[in-house]
């Protein structure tokens, strides 16, 4: 059972070919590009959702920060659709791989930090020392703030990985428990099955919330630095 539990997180290869690239690119098929003024239903629903999200998320930024709208909107669409597709049976979720999440988090965070240092150097450096600290605490606090700055990308990546992986693992385990209990005591199996349904609803919510949180935090880092 141990090997089966983690087999779904292995990088998919088919006869030696890495088809993980195809699986990462699959969500792009589900978002066709709008050609006309009034589009078909699928595109209209997606356009409405993107407008809703972008207005809500980019309202806090000034004009310099709003140049990041395209990046953040495609980020939330990618993470949201990848997480939701991972809830289908037998599918592989790329966001369970720490490598991919680090690859998303580090460049985005580094982009915001470098932008802040380039355009508002004094203000960016001033972030390392909150206002009104007693003088003898200053060295300690600078060190702590530096550590907290460098931990931001790692936290972004690990948060996403851990949440999605833990959810998938829990569903595998509880599903396996339901199956095993079916022959021993059907009533316990029924309770476990209800737990599985609740967990699935939670997973749908988590999939979307994690996308939102990732993007929101990147936009917050951006707001600090523009």
């Amino acid at each position: 059972m141990n090997e089966n539990l983690f087999a779904s997180f292995a990088t998919p290869t088919m006869m030696g070919l890495p088809i993980v690239i195809l699986i990462i690119m699959f969500p792009s098929i589900l978002f066709p590009s709008p050609n006309r003024l009034i589009n078909n239903r699928l595109i209209s629903i997606q356009q409405w959702l993107v407008q809703l999200t972008s207005k809500q998320m980019m309202a806090i930024h000034n004009s310099k920060g709003q140049t990041w709208t395209l990046m953040l909107m495609s980020l939330i669409l990618f993470i949201g659709s990848t997480n939701l597709l991972g809830l289908l049976p037998y599918s592989f979720t790329p966001t369970t791989q720490l490598s991919m999440n680090l690859g998303m988090a580090i460049p985005l965070w580094a982009g915001t930090v470098f932008m802040g240092f380039r355009h508002k150097t004094k203000a960016a450096l001033a972030h390392f020392l909150p206002q009104g600290t007693p003088i003898f605490l200053i060295p300690m606090l600078v060190i702590i703030e530096t550590i907290s700055l460098f931990i931001q990308p790692v936290a972004l990546a690990v948060r996403l990985t851990a949440n999605i992986t833990a959810g998938h693992l829990l569903m595998h385990l509880i599903g396996g428990a339901t199956l095993a209990l079916m022959s021993i005591s059907p009533s316990t199996a029924l309770i476990t099955f209800i737990i599985l349904i609740l967990l699935t609803i939670l997973e749908f919510a988590v999939a979307m919330i994690q996308a939102y949180v990732f993007t929101l935090l990147v936009s917050l880092y951006l707001h600090d630095n523009t």
Binding site: A7, M14, F26, I29, P32, L85, P89
Partner: protein
């Protein structure tokens, strides 16, 4: 009468509509799959374009055929995307069959 290819290549015969041309006789290269006779099938398959550009063209044609039939319509329904998602599930099942084989209920695996 002259052979089919010679007859077919005059400008007037090229401008006829497709439904007339299929009745009168097309060269093998331009027949669709359902119009190819069983004996001609191997030579028809060998004549297809297997260059990367041809394969990309085939994928593009297939994509737009599905898209225009099920999604790009006035009243598209949920069936359009659910068929795609069902095919995705099936693809992943086939991909991981080797590991899933061991999870069947059997006395001896």
């Amino acid at each position: 009468m002259a052979s089919v290819e010679m007859w077919y290549s005059s400008p007037w015969t090229k401008s006829l509509p497709m439904r007339v041309k299929t009745k009168l006789g097309l060269p093998l290269k331009e027949k669709k799959l359902m119009e190819v006779k069983l004996g001609e099938l191997p030579s028809w398959i060998l004549m297809r374009d297997f260059t990367p550009k041809g394969i990309a063209g085939a994928f593009q044609r297939g994509y737009y055929r599905y898209y225009n039939k099920y999604i790009n319509v006035k009243k598209g329904s949920v069936a359009g995307i659910s068929m795609v998602l069902a095919a995705y599930v099936l693809f992943n099942y086939c991909r991981s069959y080797k590991e899933l084989k061991h999870e069947r209920r059997r006395k001896y695996h």
